[in-house]
Symmetry: D2
Subunit: 106 residues, 4 copies
């Protein structure tokens, strides 16, 4: 993750794209990438497999989402992995193991 | 990341939530979390700062997005960080350093 | 629709909200409202019914989406209903009746 | 709107697509179309105009969003325009004219 952050900073700097990467714009870009991922599963029924082209597309979309999430978090000096760990601890308290019948969402 | 994946698997298993976590449902959940992040920046103007409550909210939303992205990737035995690195290499080829005036998006 | 447009203009003007309603911000707001609608169906299985509180929520979210869509279209002097009719004609050509096995999306 | 509903029902029936159009799937499709609209405005700065190709794209996306919103609402025998009117009345009560400094969102 540390390496990814450094690489993304360099990538953005080399192209002079800092001007476009406001947190607001990065949040929008993230939502667009997530929709491209949703599109893959949009009409799938329960047990339907991905085609190989959909699978390659999935790999790219997961990459794009991780890229924009990391860039956005980096704007606030945050690490997404650390945020996930902290949120998971909160979720464990919010949804105790024996009392989770009706709350499926984190 | 390896630790996060293991923790998420255990969290899901302990609550018997595997039944809800189809890739399709995880993609939808991801899009909902991203929208909650977009909501933070929705009405902000260029240089407007986050309030401290918005900042705490941002930390949680980044965590939630990383959690669902990791869960979804794990369904396909993929690591989001590895996918981001691979996608970044593709982006470097797609957007060479000297030829990027009109293509701001990755 | 004509009445709705006029009412929305008046609503926005009375509150001095034109300053926030750039097309970009309205598009973001629309995406947030759609995610709130997606949230209702997120963990539903095929034949699961909405609860009455989910149904009331659905009515509000459909209303919010129509409101923001109308506001955004109005910024460009467009009518969403007219755009839908025009797009439906294009879809009919794109997806002829006898040749639609693999293309479910419009 | 009544005509649009009838046309959409016929369009779906002619292609035997009712099987794909669960409310859940329609909500996902709606979110994908909205992201395509967000994409148009994603990197725009305050006063930047749309190109003519972006404008044509905008017209299509507004049409697609209205189509899926109408289809989804129709699944519950609801009219999106009526829902918008009802929600606007609620918004007027929630945001009285003189007390709206800090609440920009509906």
């Amino acid at each position: 993750m540390k390496q990814l952050k450094a690489d993304l900073r360099q990538f953005t700097k080399d192209r002079n794209w800092e001007q476009f990467h406001s947190p607001k714009n990065l949040a929008m870009a993230l939502s667009v990438e997530v929709a491209e991922l949703v599109e893959i599963f949009q009409w799938k029924t329960g047990d339907e497999k991905l085609t190989s082209s959909e699978y390659l597309n999935l790999r790219d979309e997961i990459g794009d989402i991780q890229i924009y999430l990391t860039m956005l978090a980096d704007k606030f000096n945050l690490c997404p992995i650390e945020m996930a760990k902290a949120k998971l601890e909160k979720n464990k308290i919010k949804h105790p193991i024996d009392d989770n019948k009706f709350n499926k969402s984190i």
